[in-house]
């Protein structure tokens, strides 16, 4: 295994450049495995700092319509969980840390230790777990301590100070702050709840705080990047690949990613 750079080091490097990191999400297998892997490489080429590699799941209850449709299509076309390791290898080779975002049953089914080992072997940097809270994560905390993988849990505007403490203590890499109450999907404005949540989170941890849910334009990326350590974009990138021929989708994806990368570079 080659020496891998973790998410926290990448965010520190961005901070040294006085900017937020761009964290870009795409699901494996959409519109097909090959195109999805190529799409993730394009994210890196176009300026994304960290790639969030999504794994399609039959019951994505934290996701809005854009991602729901994409992962349903991927599953229909035979996407398998193990395909994620193809993607993490490619992203790592392209020069960015891949963090895998997935619903917990997929890890449980594979076996937590086994999944962690395969992830390490394929260049993966860690897991983002939208439906796992630290209180239920003993097995994953042990496996990530053993392997050194990052573990990113979420905080939300509804989180109390006590919950913020508990969740951030369990995180490694960064903390994922959900900007609004709700599911994934583009929103016309990101709102003041995000800024408030970042402040409250910073008060209890030294870890970087990245903001997700709702960012879709360079302008929003600049705005969120002005106060957060990282800007997470998902649905807007998926939408760029949706209902387009693969080559056309990849071109649209590159353009949007460049705009977002420009955004995080002009926010401060």
């Amino acid at each position: 295994m080659t020496q891998t750079v973790g998410a926290e080091a990448v965010i520190a490097r961005c901070r040294a450049e006085n900017r937020a990191a761009l964290v870009a999400y795409l699901p494996v297998g959409f519109p097909d495995l090959k195109t999805s892997v190529r799409a993730m490489e394009i994210l890196v080429e176009a300026g994304a700092d960290i790639i969030e590699v999504g794994v399609p799941y039959s019951d994505p209850l934290m996701d809005g319509p854009v991602i729901q449709r994409a992962v349903a299509l991927a599953l229909e076309r035979g996407s398998r969980v193990a395909d994620v390791f193809t993607a993490t290898e490619a992203v790592r080779a392209a020069g960015a840390p891949p963090l895998v975002m997935l619903y917990w049953n997929l890890v449980l089914r594979a076996g937590v230790d086994r999944f962690a080992d395969r992830l390490v072997a394929s260049g993966g940097g860690g897991l983002i777990t939208p439906d796992l809270i630290p209180d239920e994560a003993a097995e994953w905390i042990a496996a990530s301590d053993r392997t050194g993988l990052d573990r990113v849990f979420l905080v939300a505007p509804s989180s109390t100070t006590e919950r913020l403490q508990r969740v951030t203590r369990a995180c490694r890499g960064f903390v994922y702050a959900a900007s609004t109450m709700g599911v994934t999907g583009a929103r016309s404005s990101v709102g003041s709840a995000a800024r408030d949540l970042v402040e409250r989170t910073r008060a209890v941890t030294d870890l970087p705080v990245c903001v997700g849910l709702g960012v879709s334009t360079g302008e929003q990326a600049a705005e969120v990047g002005s106060f957060a350590d990282g800007v997470i974009v998902g649905s807007a990138l998926v939408a760029a690949l949706t209902d387009r021929e693969p080559e056309e989708g990849l071109a649209a994806l590159r353009t949007l990613t460049e705009e977002l990368a420009q955004g995080v570079r002009t926010g401060r």
Partner: protein, 402 residues
């Protein structure tokens, strides 16, 4: 590990955003269960609105098809709105008010939980939205109309298998977005803690009443208590008071659909292994990757790929036993109860009746069976009429219950 485990099962596998609401709910229901004001109001509604206690009915002509066992039905079908679901709904609706929330959302499969929720919302002046899989809105069209008549908004869900599991996904998405004003009035003993425990406690009255009633009627405890198991709320409700009665067998009946070999069924315990769905760790129909497998049953209320975590615990600990009835067996029991006793059961409940026919044959004529008749069959008349070919062609093509 959080509270709310039944052995290894249960827990809270949900987005962090929902944790404060679950903690608020847990606190509210814990306080309420000790509060004479809450308990008094709930008791008043049970007596003057639902029609509790529900009666028990001995069914000797039906029992002739159960190996001659004595069979006693607990008549939850006679409750206002037509099933056991109202017990839990009224209690959670009162809790909603106590938590200062003005809106309830619910999922529904057969429509019974949705109808009960729409009813309680009308009674207590709450806004109400019900999510229902599109497939279920079609096979239970009568209940869709009932909910709308009661002032609820019914949202058909077309994603995934377009049945109960997908309705729950959509309800959870709504909840995470509107949790400040909204209570998710979950309709069965699954979901994140405290739902499985709380919903069980709100249905426990079924078994408490039935235990007293059967002692009065027969002078002894039953040999077996039998209930159908979708998510498992009517079964937990009637089982719970009997758990310490060691001589009483607890028998849950799942939906065998077109048979286990066909893969088209909802017999979780006959086929699956534990996993996480909808916030809880329990037996789950899933593929090698952990993707949920779609369930199938003629009965919308039993058509769910997972099961309440306490049932998983009762099953693995050996305290309860689970079997299944196929669509065929359930419909045969349905017809028998209609013809021998003049009672049209819900198709869900007909699965429990099919179970009783088997258990009675095994235990023989000296045995005494208590069967939870969880609901009435009005909503199923169209499905049953089609099954038995009772409609002329035009009506059969028309679709929708009436």
């Amino acid at each position: 590990m959080t509270d709310g485990r039944f052995g290894a099962f249960g827990g809270r596998y949900v987005p962090e955003a929902l944790i404060p609401a679950l903690e608020q709910l847990d606190e509210a229901r814990s306080k309420a269960m000790l509060d004479p004001g809450f308990l008094g109001e709930l008791d008043r509604l049970h007596r003057t609105y639902t029609g509790r206690p529900s009666i028990v009915t001995e069914v000797p002509r039906f029992a002739e098809h159960c190996g001659g066992a004595r069979v006693v039905l607990k008549r939850e079908d006679l409750n206002h709105t037509g099933s056991h679901k109202i017990n839990n709904v009224l209690a959670q609706a009162l809790l909603t008010q106590r938590m200062g929330k003005s809106r309830v959302i619910a999922e529904t499969g057969a429509g019974q939980h949705g109808v009960a929720t729409a009813t309680a919302a009308a009674l207590l002046g709450l806004d109400c939205r019900v999510y229902m899989g599109r497939v279920d809105t079609e096979r239970q069209a009568l209940n869709v109309a009932r909910m709308r008549m009661l002032g609820a908004e019914v949202v058909p869900v077309s994603t995934g298998s377009a049945t109960l599991k997908d309705a729950i996904n959509e309800a959870l998405r709504d909840w995470v977005t509107n949790v400040g004003t909204t209570h998710y009035l979950l309709g069965t003993v699954t979901g994140p803690h405290p739902f499985p425990e709380m919903v069980r406690d709100f249905h426990r009255i079924i078994g408490v009443e039935a235990r007293g009633q059967i002692l009065d009627l027969a002078g002894r405890l039953p040999d077996a208590v039998i209930a159908c198991v979708g998510g498992g709320s009517n079964a937990m409700g009637i089982f719970h008071r009997f758990i310490d009665d060691e001589g009483v067998r607890l028998v849950g009946v799942e939906a065998g659909g077109e048979g286990i070999a066909s893969g088209r069924h909802a017999a979780r315990f006959a086929s699956s292994s534990p996993g996480v769905l909808h916030g809880t760790f329990s037996y789950l129909m899933q593929d090698d990757d952990g993707q949920t497998i779609e369930s199938h049953s003629i009965s919308a209320g039993l058509d769910y790929p997972s099961v309440g975590p306490e049932h998983s615990y009762l099953r693995d600990s050996g305290r309860a036993e689970y079997r299944y009835a196929t669509d065929e067996q359930a419909m045969r029991a349905f017809e028998l109860l209609c013809r021998t006793e003049g009672i049209i059961p819900a198709i869900e409940s007909a699965h429990a009746l099919a179970g009783a026919m088997e258990v009675g044959s095994e235990l023989g004529p000296e045995s005494l069976l208590l069967v939870n008749l969880s609901g009435r069959g009005d909503k199923d008349v169209h499905t049953a009429a089609r099954w038995f070919g009772l409609l002329d062609d035009a009506a059969a093509d028309g679709g929708g219950d009436a």
